[in-house]
Symmetry: C2
């Protein structure tokens, strides 16, 4: 109990050289897919492609003597400085995220722009094979760069990173997620993967990039080159970093869609587990900065200094120019879109789950397999994008002034067609993903696309959306789902043409929204993101209805795609709502099946501490004091493993058994130092035999205000407390009073309160009741 290992940290120092070479070291060598969990199991999760130990975070304020002294001794000026720094950091997070998003956009637009120009050039000369080889080769190379970086330097940079951030904000730290290397690989990898025309977006990676920036700023720089300035160190604790990462995630979404309010709401609805209105406000500040940066950059690019970067700025799918007209009766087609979208979304989740399981098995085999997988997907994608447009017939242009468009972005690509004709499928496939969405969202174009082309487009992106996500490159889920959804919306528009007057471009938007809601299960934030993306407020009511219906339908089949990934990775995410059967189980029953607590006296022998640290994996230890009378034991509080290690490392030992004075502690330790989480027991070298017989006064370092529950408390309520307050350890106290009994009968941690850890131990609970949740 109290068991959360700091194995990962230990490895960091023990195997530092190993890590340099293989950041995906795997101390377990067991696939996570076949796990058998119980209460006493250690927390493991898939980090990158391999299984590692993970650790919980200390979001609770550790109210020990040092904290109180520190707090009392802070002057008004220092408090102001802290507040100003806090805002400055939020500002910097927004600024840097905005700048990096700008650079990524610039790079992607230019690389893929020049690539497509060359390919179009070959096609116009009818050198089709050469064009294909060039297209394939460039995409292969770009994918190779993205993938080799991910595989060799930062396996955690693969994928979107959003599930891990969600877990972090819930209180679970995944190792190697927010380092400088990850940031670098994510930026370059994202540019490579998106430019390579793979079916993935840059939104997920931007969220991760924003969080990395936030985390690096909070700790004052990369791990090896930190700023030692005292005031930055004040932010180097789990609580402040949590706030910063929330800001970073919002800024990322904002930068991806230029949706400042949508970014804040995305963090609020999907990513963050705790939320205060002060944080809402600070996050809002970050996204405002991002928007200003993007705006400044668009102004700059209007002057044509940005190469091939388009004119449209960053609002990707502007449909504001269309006069939306719909009436109350259009609610029927809108409902149909929502229902089918919900079904498709949950089907997508289901299939993606199956494919990710297979991919995990492939990826675990080694680096070369990961690389080969990525490259095969790239070859397949290139072949389809280049080859399929040859299957469709050319369409004659209506308006020769705007059609065909050659050498620039826009609808109506000529491809292999004679002059005055265009190839509608090439318009959708042989372009960047952003342009593809822009083209399919384009309004007043009901006859631009042939049904057959839309069908091919939809089918192709269904396949690509499923097989691309799990490969070892940075990838976002938004864009693939938007692509599938817009194809589905257009298809439905063609079928429903006799019955409704809604524009086909709008139906594509609604189809995309319904599939997003059906897969990701967000409502308010998606609604606002779509609002800000499409720049058309009149769409709001029908978008809302589509989202609500699609989410309702999707929820009746399976959980959201992020929950599914969290579960697949084994991250111990704690939901807000407990399972109903948890009301029938008391924490006392949980404690009974765990091993007993290891506790310390207020003034403890060094040897006992060293033994406990070496022989247990607990992270929190109750500290007891003898009362004035015999037989009476008083609970003083909980001491953390990290603090005990600090004591041993600094050799803060006493020759005799006595309480220390305030100044003695303050000489050796500061609160800021204690809040940092960097020590491990292996760092403690050479405690001599004499020192082993000495004593340590644990009182000043003990958190005197731990949260407690009675043994009769139901697991459901204990979980609510744990989750709402953001705990790491929860003490269980007896419900009776008697002499000679310990005032603490157990410690509960996150692992003990998770349904999939409890159920194997109490199998009768699962059958007792269905899964009605009290929302």
């Amino acid at each position: 109990m109290g068991e959360e290992l700091s194995f990962v940290m230990e490895n960091t120092s023990m195997e530092e050289e190993v890590e340099e070479r293989d950041p995906e070291r795997n101390p377990m060598n067991e696939p996570l897919l076949k796990r058998n969990r119980t209460l006493s199991s250690n927390p493991l999760a898939l980090v990158g492609a391999k299984v590692s130990y993970i650790e919980s975070l200390d979001y609770e304020i550790n109210e020990n003597d040092l904290f109180k002294q520190d707090w009392r001794s802070r002057s008004r000026g220092q408090v102001m400085q802290y507040i100003i720094l806090k805002w400055l950091l939020a500002f910097l997070v927004g600024l840097l995220t905005g700048v990096i998003a700008t650079l990524i956009n610039l790079a992607v637009e230019n690389i893929s722009g020049y690539k497509l120009l060359t390919v179009v050039g070959y096609i116009q000369q009818e050198r089709y094979l050469m064009g294909f080889l060039y297209f394939l080769g460039t995409n292969f190379l770009l994918t190779f760069i993205a993938s080799i970086l991910c595989v060799c330097f930062a396996p955690t940079a693969a994928g979107p990173g959003i599930p891990e951030i969600k877990a972090y904000l819930n209180g679970v730290d995944t190792p190697n997620m927010y380092g400088a290397t990850v940031l670098f690989v994510k930026i370059i990898g994202s540019i490579g993967a998106v430019s390579a025309g793979l079916d993935l977006g840059k939104e997920g990676p931007l969220v991760h990039i924003g969080s990395c920036i936030a985390s690096l700023l909070g700790q004052g720089g990369p791990d090896n080159h930190r700023i030692k300035w005292k005031w930055v160190r004040y932010f180097n604790n789990d609580r402040d970093r949590r706030d910063l990462i929330t800001c970073g995630a919002s800024s990322g979404v904002c930068a991806a869609f230029r949706a400042p309010v949508g970014g804040v709401l995305f963090s609020l609805e999907e990513v963050a587990s705790w939320w205060r209105s002060a944080l809402l406000w600070r996050t809002f500040c970050s996204t405002a900065v991002v928007v200003v940066v993007l705006r400044a950059f668009i102004e700059l690019c209007h002057e044509g200094k940005c190469g091939l970067f388009g004119e449209g700025g960053l609002i990707m799918f502007d449909v504001s120019n269309v006069a939306v007209s719909y009436n109350v009766m259009d609610i029927v087609p809108v409902a149909i879109i929502g229902i089918i979208g919900g079904v498709l979304g949950s089907l997508y989740n289901y299939l993606l789950h199956k494919i990710l399981r297979v991919y995990n098995l492939i990826n675990q085999k080694g680096k070369i397999y990961k690389l080969l997988l990525s490259l095969s997907v790239s070859i397949f994608t290139s072949a389809c994008q280049y080859g399929l447009p040859f299957l469709v017939k050319c369409t004659p242009c209506d308006d020769l002034s705007m059609c065909p468009t050659n050498g620039k972005s826009g609808n109506y690509k000529q491809f292999n067609c004679p002059n005055g004709h265009y190839n509608d499928l090439a318009t959708l496939l042989l372009t960047t993903n952003d342009d593809a969405v822009r083209n399919i969202f384009s309004t007043n174009t009901p006859h631009e696309y042939q049904p057959f082309s839309i069908l091919i487009f939809f089918t192709l992106y269904c396949i690509l959306g499923l097989i691309t996500f799990g490969i070892a490159v940075p990838s976002g889920l938004f864009l693939p789902i938007i692509l599938i959804g817009s194809g589905y919306g257009r298809l439905l528009g063609i079928i429903m043409r006799p019955y409704t007057n809604i524009d086909h471009g709008l139906l594509a938007v609604l189809g995309a929204a319904s599939l997003m809601a059906g897969s990701m299960r967000m409502t308010v934030s998606l609604c606002v993101i779509f609002l800000e993306l499409t720049n058309n407020l009149l769409l709001l009511p029908i978008t809302m209805i589509v989202l609500l219906i699609a989410k309702t339908v999707g929820d009746s089949f399976n959980p959201s795609v992020y929950e599914m990934i969290l579960h697949l990775k084994g991250l111990p995410f704690m939901d807000a709502d407990p399972e109903p059967w948890m009301r029938n189980l008391s924490v006392g029953e949980l404690i009974d099946v765990k091993s007993s607590v290891v506790s310390f006296r207020g003034i403890e022998k060094v040897s006992n501490i060293v033994d406990a640290l070496k022989n247990t994996t607990h992270n929190g230890f109750p500290v007891m004091d003898d009362g004035d009378e015999v037989e009476i034991v008083k609970l003083h509080g909980v001491i953390l493993r990290a603090h005990l290690i600090k004591v041993l490392k600094k050799k803060w030992f006493l020759k005799e058994k006595r309480r220390t004075e305030e100044w003695e502690v303050r000489e050796k330790f500061s609160w800021v130092e204690l809040a940092e989480r960097e020590e491990n027991i292996e760092d403690v070298i050479g405690v001599t035999k004499e020192e082993m017989e000495m004593f340590v006064d644990l009182h000043p370092l003990t958190n005197t205000t731990p949260f407690t529950v009675l043994e009769s408390m139901s697991v459901a309520k204990a979980r609510i407390l744990f989750r709402q307050v953001g705990l790491r350890h929860m003490l269980v106290v007896p419900k009776y009073q008697a002499s000679g009994v310990s005032p603490v009968i157990g410690i509960l941690t996150r692992q003990d309160l998770l349904a999939y850890n409890i159920l194997p131990v109490f199998p009768h609970l699962e059958n007792s009741k269905g899964r009605e949740k009290s929302n």
Copy 2:
């Protein structure tokens, strides 16, 4: 301790006839303004205009045997029925709020429309005095109707109602807030007050109306005519009603501004204290329904069946037709708007506070004083609105086809001017408030208004905004602040004309936004509301910056206007963040200064229960059991006063001291019944002498899973637990183990954890540290 009176309830039955005549009965007869609070004081607050007892709500799930049985016995079908009903109620809340909002809009537009038409008719005939008398008389009559209804039938319907709803969702019930009478008075009163041209809006009242509808639906109808259907009773508990009222409040905001996302966010940021993502979703459903209702109604009115209701539909201040152009350098004027707006907003709060204190003293004197106050304000408003336009010069029209506009809404009122001229001040004053805002927000009109007219407009609405809010009619704060702010924005525009090209209509919008943020201190929700109101997404970035700056400036002076009103009313609202000095105080110290706990044995004598209920005002009592050994006492849980009264009322007594069986309890009580809060000790009549000697088995009715804290817990952390989990009682347990000691040493309630109750008892804490909050 555990002390929260149900006095209000007692009075309900004892003085039922009295209440019929005076819904503002005042058992205390002491002004709340001079209060001297300590920990043992009873919770009092200003309800309507007088001081009443208030009560806390039970948001915690009462996990007693009955609850568990009830939960276990629910079939899958019943669970489905509950979920469907929950959604149906959310749907109905949206539907009814939408319909009522529609009716209010229709009534207001028609009443004030015909009133203004007649007045304009008199003016065109140059019968100025007659016009004035008609204007004054109509406004007087309308104010009289609104005010007399409020004063005589529902004093709680006066004002916006938002602070009380905020308190309800925080866990404090204000009596007589959500009844059918209040709903009726609020609707009619709001129509009257708004039509009377008073400087107040219908948004606050609509929020209250939405909440009333929600509450009435949840309890199955008005107090005296409830539906007895079993399934509706499942919603008649504090938790489900909390969710419904959240939906209602969102629907109200949505209906007021046709801002569905803004409505949800307003509830989230400003009104609600607890929030789950499931609720976010349900609230979103309610607002979607409201929008559909409003849309259907606008379609209907397009056919001209709605009398004078304007064409613009309900988006009040549409500025979407303007091409917004601004560049990065415009950040300077925008920052200036924000800074001055923040200062003005906090100044407004400060002055409003002073005036409300004076008004409270006047209102407490009696009904006739309240009525006179309202009527004086009405006369003053009418006189200014009619008289001031005579002071300004007439302006010649630029475009004779659109100017002057007579007989319809729009800019350029002729008033007393010759043909081909218009009176710009009459355009702003002699119109409905909605039209005034529309006119002052109108874009591309930099020279329409003379600086002198804007100055008069601004000054007048500053005065009216301060003196109108506290009178006894339903009144919202949004519109007055928007009016002041838009005047200020235009004024600033005139001053800054040489330096910026931002349109003056947009500056009016930004001015309104800055003053709102400076006074109400919301950011994200205001931003979205303004977005949805003005229908122009390009305004988003500058609106965000204005809001952030104005809020920051405002926060450095005083708290938000709602917090200020909450404090003035004495509602024990509990903030999310504890005060810093609370870390230096333990709950044990709080317990020491309170009287001791009254507890029961598991099987208790009837006479003891009756004594405790009569002689204490506690609402929760710990239930203890003797253990197997002597001297060991076990804590069984907490029993609520309401449940004890139910036991006495049903005379569920035992002749001998024994534990009861499950079926015995279920025969007498159901969980649904226990969740309802309607009993009081005076209802218990005639417990005979023999019955007094009998026993009650309290076990099955006791909440066996109360939340507990150790006596050494700091008040700051205890408060976080209390607030985050939503408690009413928190047990304090000793930190040591010893025989013969009670396992519970005290009970803490909301009153014990509020700063202004603690500080008088521990005066040294206040001086120890400034008010740094850890946000």
